[in-house]
Amino acid sequence: MTREPLLPGLGIVDLTIIGVMTCLGVYVAFLAPKKLESALGLQDSMSMHEANIKAAEMRRPKVEPSRFDRLKRAREDVLQVVEPILAFLSLGAGLATFRRPSAWSKRALRRRGILTLAVVTLFFLTALSNEFILRHFDINTSGVGLNPISALWGELTAEIGLGVLVLWVILLLGRRWSGAADWHDRVGRTVGWLLILDGLCGSRLSQLLY
């Protein structure tokens, strides 16, 4: 069910916010995780991870990778690029939408796409600030290490992807499956679908492949 648009159309400021955030996502995706950690002043989580990978490769017998192995490797590479971009795109779309006070109204937040954007933006903001504080201020000095930062994007998108799927199923069961014909809602719905797809085809599919 699609209703009349509630929010104004895509403006230059919205485009700039989304464009800048997407570029930031692309930059983070192609930046080496160690460089990202040093640029943000974060605790080193990659050295131990890389040493573990190297040790695992040393133990593994040397065999020529099959076509299936190469496909799995390519899929991993694609996900490592796509997941940070998706996270920053979601944040950008959320910031562009919720800079308008009308987006916080009851009517707007009852639209599936805008509601999804709100939930996803809040989740990413909370989770990323939490990770930044813990990693930056070296709080976790207890011996139980941090997860490698390269895995962070996959974990976050998989977690919120499942959350969005569950939220949408509940909205569908409650017959609150409404959308609007404006770009905010369309972007929200697209982000929702992408996150669900990533949630199912990312780490959960990896579980089946390895």
Partner: protein
């Protein structure tokens, strides 16, 4: 929303409800027992490890409240799905179901006869997803101004379980490291 949809359709607490809840608690205790060793593992100071078996226990009552909520007499499904108590139980069940499907696929593809501790290993991977799904759904209901609690014992029980799942999300690895830090420093200073 029509008035009839808002009206509370209360159901008395019957022997059948009590039997289902007792069975669910027993099932939850059996599930929790499979990973009770986690609480004694090296990460025992981390609330994620020390409470994982309690979260596994919660799964039993959560499924039971969902079943009890679907028994008649009950409001229409579209009203029921957006009640916070039922939504919490539904969210936890759906998240478990999705992860269970992938886990079953993994087991089938990797020689089921050679797999050990299937039930406990499943929960080690799945518990964070379930704990995350409930706050996401509640946030969605709150932001959309669809938070309409019902004054029935089933919805109250569902909300109580929902609160416990939210607490589970806060002690889980991603957000629970703060608690871990506090408990670890407390242990270091008082040992």
């Amino acid at each position: 929303m029509r008035r009839s949809e808002n009206a509370t359709i209360g159901r008395r607490f019957t022997i059948l409800d009590a039997m289902i809840l007792v069975a669910a608690v027993a099932g939850g205790l059996a599930l929790g027992k499979t990973i009770s060793g986690d609480a004694l593992f090296i990460g025992r100071f981390h609330p994620d490890w020390s409470t994982r078996h309690i979260r596994y226990f919660l799964l039993g009552p959560t499924l039971a409240v969902l079943v009890l909520g679907l028994l008649r007499p009950r409001p229409p499904l579209k009203t029921l799905a957006c009640r916070p108590g039922m939504a919490a139980c539904l969210a936890a069940t759906l998240a478990t179901f999705v992860d269970a499907v992938f886990w079953a696929g993994y087991i089938l593809l990797n020689d089921p006869e050679k797999q050990l501790n299937i039930v406990s290993r499943f929960w080690r991977g799945c518990s964070k997803d379930v704990a995350r799904a409930v706050p996401v759904v509640w946030l969605g209901l709150l932001l959309g101004r669809r938070w309409r609690p019902d004054a029935t014992w089933i919805d109250r029980l569902g909300r109580l379980l929902g609160v416990l799942w939210v607490v589970a999300c806060l002690v889980e690895w991603r957000f629970g490291r703060w608690l871990f830090m506090l408990t670890f420093h407390y242990w270091k200073t008082h040992r």
